[in-house]
């Protein structure tokens, strides 16, 4: 492709033309980059702004309201970055869980034969997805959560759950010494249930005999750990928050920023997921369902064994991109003061160090890596799930 004989150096030769076009665009892009880099270099020297990534080891000197790893004002900028990254991942993880569950429920409700349920789901979708997410976050945070009463007059929707303007306080699970055995048994039971499911599936595919793997597995997962828990003398109990003089003490506290962000992200993304689920289920042709009924499958079985496996192939790729969107949208945290990666790093750290180029590049790189990993995994999935036509 790149080789052309002397005789073909002429404008009528498409290979030569392509070579010239590409050479020109390459030169243009390189020049543009060179121009930007050299002016940036000059500007930085003129303004006496430090360069390089050495700042990551300097002392941060600011506090963060939610930290999952040990962090104090003496920690470095690098550790502040880690805290911000973990906060982003936590809010994205929790948001993804709730958005997926809610999205599937609403998507299925949208197809319900019950007119009222279907209309309710439609109204939910049309309202939520046509209002900017940032506006929804402001609404939850500034209009709903901040005006809640002071801790001393907390609202108590359930015993042990307190709702106030400093967030929500839940009972904290506390473990004693023998709790390890409980978790070990729980883990083993889960492994057993999974193995049972695999074995039952294999047997069903091979012989057609069904085995109630789900109820048996569920029973094992519930009963065995419960037994160990009772024998061990209830090593795991809930510690309830108590009213102190001004505030509640004890318990597990979730910040209002965290709640507003999770709530906003989950409700907003669920509307999009619901539409994806609906389109996926509708894409399975009616003939499939009718054929399944004709074979004597019950409606539940038809849904489980015929419709859902086929619709998943269409649901999963756009679903992943929605979940990735949710992760990227979690950067709106900066607007309501939740200390996520953008708020901590591109906000506070950038203001303190002034090293805009490095800070913004690192932040963008994190999101870019997340989305590249996701699209890599998606490509593998698509290759595996692609319809094999015979």
């Amino acid at each position: 492709m790149w080789s052309f004989s002397r005789a073909s150096i002429s404008w009528t030769n498409p290979g030569f033309r392509a070579f010239v076009y590409q050479a020109i665009s390459l030169v243009l892009v390189v020049t543009l980059f060179w121009f930007f880099i050299s002016t940036a270099h000059e500007n930085l020297q003129r303004l006496h702004i430090a360069t390089g990534f050495g700042f990551l080891e300097n002392t941060a000197g600011f506090g963060i309201i939610q930290t999952l790893v040990p962090y104090s004002e003496e920690s470095s900028y690098g550790q502040a970055f880690l805290v911000g990254l973990l906060n982003t991942l936590v809010v994205a993880g929790v948001g993804i869980f709730f958005a997926t569950v809610l999205g599937f429920i609403i998507g299925i409700a949208r197809l319900s034969s019950n007119w009222l349920i279907a209309k309710l789901a439609m109204v939910y979708i049309e309202v939520l997805r046509n209002i900017p997410l940032l506006l929804q976050l402001f609404f939850w945070y500034f209009a709903i959560l901040r005006p809640l009463p002071k801790p001393i007059d907390s609202i108590t929707p359930l015993p042990g759950v307190y709702l106030n303007n400093r967030g929500i306080v839940l009972p904290q699970p506390v473990m004693d010494g023998s709790a390890g055995a409980f978790f070990l048994v729980l883990f083993l039971a889960l492994c057993f249930a999974y193995g049972l499911h695999r074995w039952a599936l294999k047997r069903r595919l091979a012989t057609g005999h069904t085995f109630p793997a789900l109820p048996v597995g569920a029973a094992v997962v519930v009963i065995l750990p419960l037994l160990v828990w009772l024998i061990g003398g209830a090593p795991l109990h809930l510690e309830f928050a108590e009213h102190g003089r001004f505030d509640l003490t004890g318990g597990m506290r979730l910040l209002p920023e965290f709640i507003a962000l999770t709530l906003g992200l989950a409700l907003y993304t669920a509307a999009f997921i619901a539409e994806i689920v609906r389109a996926g289920i509708l894409s399975v042709s009616k003939g499939q369902t009718e054929a399944a009924y004709a074979l004597g499958l019950k409606p539940g079985q038809t849904l489980r064994f015929v419709v859902i496996p086929q619709s998943m192939r269409l649901i999963i790729p756009p679903l992943t991109s929605q979940l990735l969107n949710l992760t990227k949208n979690s950067s709106l945290a900066v607007a309501i003061g939740y200390p996520d990666l953008v708020a901590v790093f591109s906000g506070t750290v950038l203001n303190q160090t002034g090293q805009a180029i490095e800070v913004i590049s690192i932040t963008m790189a994190v999101y870019l890596v997340l989305s590249l990993i996701t699209s890599f995994l998606m490509n593998i999935y698509n290759a595996r799930a692609a319809l094999r036509e015979r």
């Binding site: 392509a18 076009y21 590409q22 665009s25 390459l26 892009v29 930007f36 002016t39 940036a40 000059e42 500007n43 930085l44 003129r46 319900s112 034969s113 019950n114 007119w115 009222l116 349920i117 309710l120 049309e126 309202v127 997805r129 046509n130 209002i131 900017p132 997410l133 940032l134 506006l135 929804q136 402001f138 609404f139 500034f142 209009a143 005006p147 990227k328 949208n329 950067s331 709106l332 900066v334 607007a335 953008v342 591109s346 950038l350 805009a356 180029i357 913004i360 932040t363 963008m364 999101y367 870019l368 997340l370 989305s371 590249l372």
Partner: protein, 350 residues
Amino acid sequence: MEWMRKNLFSSWGNSLLTIVALYLVYIIIVPFLDWAVFSAVFTGDSRAACLGPDKGACWPFVYANWDQFVYGRYPEAERWRVNIVFFLGAAGLIPLLMPSVPAKLYNVIFLLVAYPVLAVILLVGGRPGLPMVDTSYWGGLLVTLVVAVTGIVVSLPLGVLLALGRRSEMPVIRMFSVIFIEVWRGVPLITVLFMASVMLPMFLPEGVTLDNLLRCLIGVALFSSAYMAEVVRGGLQSMPKGQEEAARALGLSYPQTMIFIILPQALRHVIPGIVNTFIGLFKDTTLVLIVGIFDLLGQVRTQLSDPNWSAPQTAVTGYVFAAALFWIFCFGMSRYSTFMEHRLNAGHQR
């Protein structure tokens, strides 16, 4: 009656669901109506009217600040210019959206070329008879529409070029297009805006300064053209290869093939996708408030901090009002996209 039995109470489970749903509707609708109408305050000129334990929405807040919501701090004597721009935009857009009105090509040229130039001249000013209005005075719905329209006008041609680049047979051009598209699509818009407002000035030579709004417009335009490129690529991929081969066989050059044969068909295929990108872009314009530009939402927040209106219910009222306005725009666009989808499908059904 028959309809109710069939659609609401066909079985025990369904009846139960209906009752639960009715209860849900009841606990949502009744308090909302109470808040928005029955307990709402409709008259007054300050927070005093809206204070009180059992007061609902504070609507005077909305009409007292209406001008700010639409124009921001644009000088009052010059607001007629904004009105003309709004009017011209509507005059150009409405016939374009109606499939039966002819001369679509001239209409598009007016909207994509003449209108932006006119709008910039009118809004920025700096000519005899039109005093200069610095963009820091712009705000409200004006800024929301400026950001959205710029994003749309720039992203469509740029997105088409990028999509063609991504499907090009020249490896260097393809690589540049893929990198550009994937980088912009992989990062959140907020980091792009931070980049535009904090990092971009560092890359400009000394003495060259770009207006904050202009920098954000560049960021939004590049960001949305990457998304547009992927939509257009979908359209290009849906074209049968025979179309291009036939055009080339007739002796059309590559640009001719694309402009006269491929793109008109491909773009028509993806009108719903393009409109969806516009909706996303329109909603994303709210993010500019994080870098200090007062769009509609930013303006609502500014007016909320006015001590004259600080009452418990004004915040909720302000956000509900802004949400309603955004909803009308976005829902309108999505309805239009569904309408076009049906129209396009109708042409394919025999």
